[in-house]
Structures are given as structure tokens and as C-alpha cells.
């Protein structure tokens, strides 16, 4: 088969250009992270990672991610079920609304939460009167993290569930299956990989969010510092190796995310060929 651009010279040139540019632009930074983290040897790396403040930041970051994921999961599944299984007025608008977090600058996202729940906001001042402080504390970090990550699960599920249609669920209804059983035994097995990928993306973004979190966290070392904020502080303090030690942990999560994605895609492709 002969197609446009299949000539050997064109082909080599284009592949070469793509590979070299991608290596310089994407792969080199990845290598640099680990090179910098281990620049002074593994002992210094380990000392940086097990530093009290780093451990506290890791702990807070994981804590936030663990709380964010179930919220996004429930919302994502509910929204996807709603917009792909029912027709109702306002369906399109609802589908557009969930894209807002993608379009809004993270700093702006942090700001709107700060304005609402901060001491000067109408809700924040009321909460303040009841001695509840959300901003500059972990609940604030959690709220903005949920805001920026909430579209991921829904965005993975909606196109898939739309493509699959509701025929299998209808068949289950005619066979007398009650609601929860339909979801658990018919829908869930069909969407589980997309669901898993949505969770992985949610997690990657939750542990890595910087702009929004930096607005609402207050960045108190050992208390409200997440890992990205912690590495920023280290970097500003000219502790480059320390900053990159933390960065390498986050990069590792990113790498695992890529591996998981490639694995899930490979699985999906294989199922298409040999169902």
C-alpha cells in the first residue's frame, strides 16, 4: 500500500525530526528530574525524602488524593449515568458546565474559593463566626483539588457510555433486574477500565495541583504544604537537590500514570482484535 508520505526519504526525515524533538522537549526534562534528584548521590536523596517536612507534605498530599478520588468517582459516575441514560431539559448545559474546571486558570479557581470561604467572603465570615476555618487549612486544599479534578472521571465515562448505548441495561430491565443490580452487573463491567483510568488521571492531577492549592493553602511548612508547594519552597531556598527529590516522587507517579494508560489502551486494543 502506498500512501502520501510513504516515500523512504520523507518517512525517515519526519520520524527523525519527531523523535529528536520529542526527546529534547519531553524526555530530557524527565531524565533531568531524576538526574538532579540523585545529583549528590542516593544518601542525600534519601535524606531529603525522609526529611520531616517532606514526609509531612507527602502525607498531606496522599490524604488529599485519598479524599478527592471517591468524591470525583461518585460525581463522575452519577453525571455520566445521568447524561447518557436519560434525556431531559438542560442536559447539554450540564455537560458543558463540567468543562469549566478545565478552562479556568488554577489560580482563578483558588481565588474564587478563597473569596467565598475566606474571612471576607459571605460564607467564610459566617463559618468564621462558628469557628470553622476552611481556607489556609486542609479542607480548603481538598475543596480546590476536587474542583480542578472533578471532570476527569465523567469525561472518561461519557463518550464510552454514549457509544455503548443503553440496550444492555434495557435488556437487564426486561429480565427483571433491580436498579443497583443493573449497574453492578451490567454497566460496571463494561466501564470498569475507563473508570480506572479516570481515577488514575484524577489521582495524578490531585497530587500535582499547584496553582489553585498555592492560593488557598497558606503554605505552612509541615502543616498545609502539599508536595508541589513543598518543592517550590525548597527551590526558592536554592535547595535544588531537595526540590528535585520531591519532584522525582511526583514524576514517578506521573510515570506510573503513563504506564497504566498504555497498559489499559493495549488491553482495549487487544480486546478489539480478540474479544
Amino acid at each position: 500500500m502506498q500512501r502520501i508520505g510513504d516515500g523512504i526519504a520523507v518517512r525517515r526525515l519526519l520520524i527523525g525530526a519527531a523523535v529528536v524533538l520529542a526527546a529534547l522537549f519531553l524526555l530530557l526534562p524527565l531524565v533531568a528530574i531524576f538526574a538532579q534528584a540523585f545529583a549528590r548521590g542516593i544518601d542525600v536523596f534519601w535524606a531529603n525524602v525522609t526529611n520531616h517536612y517532606t514526609l509531612a507534605a507527602i502525607q498531606l498530599t496522599l490524604f488529599i488524593a485519598v479524599l478527592t478520588i471517591p468524591v470525583c468517582l461518585v460525581f463522575g459516575v452519577a453525571l455520566a449515568w445521568l447524561v447518557t441514560r436519560f434525556r431531559f431539559p438542560g442536559r447539554r448545559i450540564l455537560q458543558t458546565l463540567i468543562d469549566i474546571p478545565f478552562a479556568v486558570s488554577p489560580v482563578v479557581a483558588g481565588l474564587v474559593y478563597l473569596l467565598l470561604y475566606g474571612r471576607t467572603g459571605w460564607l467564610g465570615s459566617w463559618l468564621d463566626g462558628h469557628d470553622i476555618q476552611l481556607m489556609f487549612a486542609w479542607p480548603g486544599i481538598l475543596l480546590v483539588t476536587i474542583f480542578v479534578t472533578c471532570p476527569f472521571v465523567a469525561r472518561e465515562l461519557i463518550p464510552l457510555m454514549q457509544a455503548q448505548g443503553s440496550r444492555e441495561e434495557e435488556a437487564a430491565v426486561t429480565l427483571g433486574a433491580p436498579g443497583w443490580t443493573i449497574f453492578r452487573r451490567v454497566t460496571l463491567p463494561n466501564i470498569r477500565w475507563a473508570l480506572l483510568y479516570g481515577v488514575i488521571l484524577t489521582n495524578a492531577r490531585a497530587v500535582g495541583e499547584f496553582g489553585a492549592v498555592s492560593v488557598v493553602s497558606g503554605a505552612i511548612r509541615g502543616q498545609t504544604n502539599t508536595l508541589p508547594l513543598h518543592l517550590e519552597q525548597l527551590y526558592q531556598d536554592y535547595n535544588t537537590v531537595g526540590a528535585f527529590a520531591s519532584a522525582s516522587l511526583l514524576a514517578l507517579i506521573a510515570l506510573l500514570t503513563l504506564v497504566a494508560k498504555a497498559g489499559l489502551e493495549w488491553r482495549a486494543a487487544r480486546r478489539e482484535v480478540h474479544p
Binding site: R167, E168, E170, A171, A172, V173, T174, L175, G176, A177, P178, T181, R185, V186, P189, N190, P275
Partner: protein, 365 residues
Amino acid sequence: MSIRLHEIGKHFGRTQALEPIDLDIAEGELVGLLGPSGSGKTTLLRIIAGLETADNVAGARILFGERDVTHLHVRDRRIGFVFQHYALFRHMTVFDNVAFGLTVMPRKSRPSSGEIRSRVHRLLEMVKLEHMAHRYPAQLSGGQQQRVSLARALALRPDVLLLDEPFGALDAKVRQELRRWLRHLHDELNFTSLFVTHDQEEALELSDRVVVMSNGRIEQIDTPDELYRHPANRFVFEFLGDVNHLEGTVRNGVLTCGDARLAVDLEDGPEELLLRPHELELAPSATQHAHLPVCVTAISPVGAEVRVELEADWLGEPWLATVSHADYERLHLTRGTRLYAVPRRWHRFPDERREQAAPLPVAVS
């Protein structure tokens, strides 16, 4: 279990998909819903199943036997539904698909797992798929998938079996086979079945009675024989087979159209006659009653009869005639042969004005 519908209509937004319909189906009957796409037949079937809700008007009622199911959820109607594209659960084996309905019953009424197993195996035996029990739907052919879908629908011993274009996606030979097989199954198990099809041959061959629908309306309900012999209107006539048209003006008992003439026993005025291809005879010369000169433009000698396409100056659209192989040889038909068409009988639906006539149905194989 009989099915009775009263005043069942359906609007989608502002468009009326179904005019209020009354329909009685007797216990044990196998009834076909026949119509072109968009005629409302699938909507009607889905309303009976409970997958779609009929317009909420005072008189609208659906009865299964004496049971009023109008406001009952699909789940509680005890119907078996076979979907057009099977809708098998693709992540379950054939066995699990068929067993699904039994395994999701409330714990109290659910059969034991041993009982479920034997029931599923009996069903798979019935659809001749015992050896496929552990395959996944994607590993089966279309016909096999459809049989699994049937077994799954029958597992709960439904009162009523509803099938949406059950053989639509299959090739002609498999379709024939499954049709015969479904008829046998129906006679053996004696449930009440209703199926949707756009294929008139399928409807006529399989059904005890056929409901012909168009534009959300029931045009006629009759046995296949009555339907073919006594179509209630022009739409039914045209939908049930190939039709040749003859338009002209009648004066003194002779219909004239260009240089074509046909003796008819009709009042003076414009007329349109409809003729079936097998009701046309071909002859080397005109008769006293019919002078319809035509020219052969195409011949298809495949099958029990020879299909001959005819054209003439006075014809808007070509005619189709079917002749026996004996006649075909006797007349030495080749492309370009000039001869005369002699109608054995013709039909007319004078009450319907042209613009009321339904659009020509899509050609059906």
C-alpha cells in the same frame, strides 16, 4: 396470555409517533407488526414492553389477560424482549447471559443454583447451543447470538414474547432457518408473541395475523391470506408486493393512455389502475380487450419465475411482469422483444386521492 391495547398513542415532543391505537391479540397468537421505517411499529412494541411510556391520556390502557399493566414497570410486566441487535451482555458467557434473569430474582423466589443450571442447560439445548455455553457473545455468529438472546428472554417463562426486528441483521439463509425455527418454538411452547419487521415476506410467512402500519397508524389487521387478497387500501396493496401503475382516462368503457387501450367497466373520467406482476400475461399480439404494446428491457431468469422488465412510451415507470419458464421459452423473450401485456385482473382504490396515498415503500428484498 392475551394482549389488549386501548387508546395507546405516543408523542415525541411535538411529533406524533403513534396515533391512538386499539389492538387485540389472542392468547397463543403469533402476530407480526409490519411497516416501513418510521411507521411506529417499534414504538408500539416498546410501549407494550414498557420500555417506552404511552401518552398519558385517560383511556389509555394495556391489558395482559385480565392484568392491567398500563402503569407497571417493565421489570414487573413479565415479558420476554428480544432486541434488534441482540443486546447480549458482552462481558458474560452465553450461560451467564441466559441465567441472568434467574440470578437477579429476589432471594426468596430465586431457584437454587443447581436448578438454575439445569434450566439454563435445557434452554440452551432448545436453541441448540449447549456446546457454546462458555463462549462469549463476540465469539458467536449473528444467528447464534440471536438464539442466545431468545433463550435469555424465555428463561423467565414470560407470558408474552416481544421481538424487535429479530432477524433484521442476519443474512437471507440464516433468516429463513431462524424463522422456521421460531414458528416451531412458538407452536411448541404456545406463548403469545408479537414481532416487528419491515420485511413483508417474513411477516406473511411467520404470522397468524399481521398488523400493517404506516405513519403511526394501523392500516389493516388480517391473516396473511386476507391481507394479500383483500388489501384494505392502496398503502397495504403497495406495501405487500411489487406494483405496476396504469394511469389514463376512461371514455365509453375504454381506458386510454397514449397508444395503450384497456377495456374497463368503469365510469368516464381519470383513473389509476394497479396491477401485480404475476397478474400480467405477455402475448405476441393484442387482444380484443387489451392493447398494451410494450418492449422488453431486462430479463432475470433466476428463481421459480422469470422477471421481465417492460417499457413503453405511454409508461411513466417501467412495468415488471413475472412469467413461467415455459412461457419465457415459448415467447422467445430477449431484450428488445416487442409484445403485448394482457392483464388478468387489476385493482383500484378510487376513494383515496393521490396525495393521500402513502409514499412508495422502500424496496424490500
